[in-house]
């Protein structure tokens, strides 16, 4: 009897010890965006790998800490993925997200403010390098100012990358059709928007569809880039009066834009807004047939197979693919400025506005707080993003321009650095500037207008109804007030 009891006791102790050991194990889940170390495929023969080494090094230094890198699915939108994992309380501890999205989503308590953490020293940054004493010093102020959420006074995002978009152009194809491929201004093939339309018109007259792009509502970002940057050009003189008090230059957040609608500072009936709609309608004939349901991949194939001379794409990560796939000479240009030649409401634009910039960064999610492992998560966060590690990640696979002091821009991305000097657009993509539903319905309305299903008058009426409704919903949901714009 005694022996049996002793045996049970020993077994219980052994299990208890293992359970205790198991409790000391910490697993940190993280997404790393474009740097996820994927397996090679035909479409992606040389995926980034460096994150595997970074993780292995960190795990070796920290026994008991496991790092699991999570790939985000391609077949659903980022919004859908986040809503699923956050609502299921199964979100990774660190996720990459666009700062505007984070602003929109911070009301759900999904993200942990990083204000105190970025004031701490980052021990993984070498002495003498900015950021060693104070983590925030590793990144230029312009990045922090851009991504700081004035609404809550919190910093949720650490942005170690910058991206830009641009027009890839097929030099051989354009020159064969007698079209000039010299830059008219420092960052663009064209002096202004009107010149661009003329030159693309010449391409069309030569029998080619000019521009491969996608306005599919499933992969709408290419269209969204035009939408936000061109709308900025029509309202640039008014933007500052829409900001929350005390703010420095930034892209409008959801509250500011919603309140501007509610306070009548922007309306679909404005002359400027109508001019903007017509500017987009004049551009639409330059887009390839079927753009309304075309995916980004299909648009890319049209460019790379020499069917069309222009492609609008991400000027950072796509550069790798174009370098690999194109068997012709190519270059990258940026949008030209929209000037008074196009509309009197666009008279004060010295330059185009930047799509991209310091958009996506790392956040710490509420899961770290729920599980009480914020310190461990921040430690890995600091390690991964510190210059010695991040420099290797970006050099291994140049998919974005590093923003931290002490890191060089990879050669492949140098042509796009000039784009980053442009002022950021104040009005972002349709979804982040107001709401996901607004973005979706706005794109569908624009498609209806472009394809002749509705006329301009109906478009204005529907757009006004949509903006007013969504602004009201967003303001009510967040219990915002809008008095600040009237002071």
């Amino acid at each position: 009897m005694f022996k049996r009891l002793l045996f049970v006791l020993i077994i219980a102790l052994v299990f208890g010890a293992f359970a205790g050991l198991a409790q000391d194990e910490v697993t940190i889940y993280a997404t790393v965006g474009a740097y996820y170390p994927d397996e090679p495929t035909d479409n992606n023969p040389d995926p980034p790998r460096m994150m595997n080494e970074i993780v292995a090094e960190y795990e070796a230094m920290n026994p008991g800490v496991n790092i699991e890198l999570i790939d985000t699915p391609d077949n659903i939108s980022g919004d859908q993925w986040r809503s699923t994992v956050f609502n299921g309380q199964n979100e990774p501890h660190i996720i990459v997200n666009n700062y505007i999205r984070v602003w929109q989503e911070q009301g759900n308590d999904w993200y942990v403010p990083l204000n105190d953490y970025i004031e701490m020293p980052n021990p993984y940054i070498p002495e003498g390098t900015p950021g060693h004493e104070r983590w925030a010093d590793a990144i230029p102020d312009v990045v922090w100012n851009t991504t700081f959420h004035t609404g809550s006074g919190n910093q949720y995002v650490v942005t170690v990358n910058a991206v830009a978009v641009g027009f890839y152009y097929n030099i051989d194809m354009l020159e064969a059709n007698g079209i000039d491929t010299e830059f008219d201004i420092s960052y663009s093939l064209w002096q202004d928007w009107a010149t661009m339309i003329d030159e693309m018109g010449a391409v069309a007259a030569a029998g080619h569809e000019p521009l491969a792009m996608s306005m599919s509502t499933a992969t709408p970002y290419t269209y969204n880039w035009f939408d936000g940057t061109s709308l900025t050009s029509f309202y640039i003189d008014h933007i500052e009066s829409w900001w929350e008090p005390g703010a420095s230059w930034h892209a409008l957040n959801q509250r500011e834009f919603a309140c501007a609608i509610q306070n009548g500072l922007i309306s679909a009936h404005d002359d400027a807004f109508v001019d903007w709609l017509q500017l987009l309608a004049e551009f639409e004939p330059m887009w390839v047939d079927g753009y309304a349901t075309m995916t980004w991949d299909e648009a890319y194939r049209l460019f790379i197979t020499g069917e069309v001379p222009f492609l609008l794409g991400n000027a950072a990560s796509q550069t790798l693919n174009v370098t690999r796939d194109a068997d012709f000479n190519w270059g990258i240009s940026y949008f030209p400025p929209i000037t008074e030649t196009s509309s009197p409401h666009a008279a004060n634009n010295d330059s185009a506005y930047l799509v991209g910039g310091f958009t996506a960064g790392f956040t710490m999610t509420d899961r770290a707080r729920r599980e009480g492992i914020e310190d461990q998560v921040i430690d890995f966060f600091m390690y991964m993003t510190a210059q010695p590690q991040w420099g290797r990640v970006v050099t291994d696979s140049p998919r974005s321009i590093p923003t931290q002091f002490g890191l060089d821009v990879p050669d492949a991305l140098k042509p796009t650095v000039a784009f980053l000097e442009l002022p950021i657009r104040a009005l972002k993509d349709p979804d982040p500037r107001l709401s996901r539903r607004y973005g979706e319905d706005h794109r569908r309305l624009m498609q209806e207008y472009f394809t002749g299903q509705i006329d301009l008058e109906t478009l204005i009426a529907e757009e006004d109804r949509l903006m007013t409704r969504e602004a009201r919903v967003v303001i009510a949901e967040n219990e915002w007030t809008c008095d600040f714009q009237m002071e």
């Binding site: 859908q80 753009y291 309304a292």
Partner: protein, 313 residues
């Protein structure tokens, strides 16, 4: 047939005699065996369906926000332009596909029944059933490629035939997009409907066809006066199934056009999906689901009534 088989099985098990409690006790293992699938069915099929009814009365973002709003979502549906357009798109699409997916499988089954060679009949059955093993998503992607305006097979084929003027952005033009979707999986020979109708035709006694033939009935008369009336139940079932499948279908629209251009290929099931997973309006999505359910139920009942009434005539 089924009833008599069940009765004889019960006899064989010795559980059909005596008072009800005793019969239940004797059959306890059968009921216990049934309990597992019934519980799973309740848990994973019925509960979510009924929870949609409950959630349709709430603003629910799939997470913490859960606010009772009564019938507000249903009122919103009445004035929702997207839902109106989606419903009208769906009606046209379903009518077209129900007709095609009943008539063509019927003729395919007729062809097989009329083949004299059993071997050929077998191979034709294989040919018609084979598409069932092709993943649906692959089928859609192939059709996307067929319709591609620049390099798609359809436009290439038209150009080869010298019909360049008819090349088109089939999915990108609101005038052709819904038709292009309706033609996906042409020539509309869905395996299930085909097998149901074939099964019905095979149950018609050979003697009936022989008598008709002796009486001088040709193919069309036999079709009209024997085959169609005698397979009415199978035809009705095939129609109902097609109607249900097509109404619930959103993958086709999501993959091919995402409801565009504009709203020209939007259908309620896709709107439901987007409301829930893109806009986090699970309450509103539930209301769309409830309306679809009620609509489908009503149409199914009407269909059954009409067909059983016609059969009685």
């Amino acid at each position: 047939m089924f009833r008599s088989a069940t009765r004889s099985s019960s006899h064989a098990l010795g559980i059909s005699r005596g008072p009800l409690p005793l019969r239940l006790w004797r059959a306890k293992w059968l009921y216990l065996a049934l309990l597992v699938p019934v519980t799973l069915l309740l848990l994973f099929e019925w509960l979510p369906a009924f929870s949609a009814l409950y959630n349709s009365l709430y603003i629910w973002n799939g997470g913490k926000v859960h606010i009772y709003v009564g019938l507000e979502h249903y009122e919103r549906l009445l004035s929702d332009r997207t839902f109106r357009v989606a419903l009208s798109n769906l009606v046209g699409f379903v009518i077209f596909r129900v007709v095609m997916q009943t008539v063509l499988p019927f003729f395919a089954a007729e062809m097989i029944i009329n083949l004299r060679s059993a071997r050929w009949s077998y191979w034709w059955k294989i040919i018609f059933v084979f598409p069932m093993v092709v993943p649906t998503i692959l089928n859609y992607l192939i059709w996307r490629f067929i319709y591609n305006p620049q390099v798609g097979l359809l436009n290439e084929g038209l150009e080869l035939l010298g019909l360049d003027a008819y090349t088109h952005a089939w999915l990108g033009d609101p005038l052709t997009a819904m038709w292009a979707l309706a033609f996906v999986r042409f020539p509309w020979l869905p395996t299930l409907q085909f097998l149901i109708i074939l099964g019905g035709l095979q149950t018609i006694p050979h003697e009936v066809h022989e008598s008709a033939s002796i009486d001088g009935a040709g193919f069309w008369r036999r079709l009209l006066y024997i085959d169609i009336p005698m397979t009415r139940r199978q035809i009705t079932l095939a129609m109902i199934l097609t109607m249900l499948f097509m109404t619930q279908r959103f993958d086709l629209f999501l993959v091919m056009t995402d409801g565009g251009p504009g709203y020209s290929t939007m259908v309620p099931a896709l709107q439901l999906f987007q409301s829930a997973f893109s806009f986090l309006e699970f309450g509103y999505a539930s209301a769309i689901g409830v309306v679809l359910f009620v609509g489908m139920l009503a149409l199914t009942v009407i269909n059954l009534r009409v067909s059983s009434g016609a059969a009685a005539d």
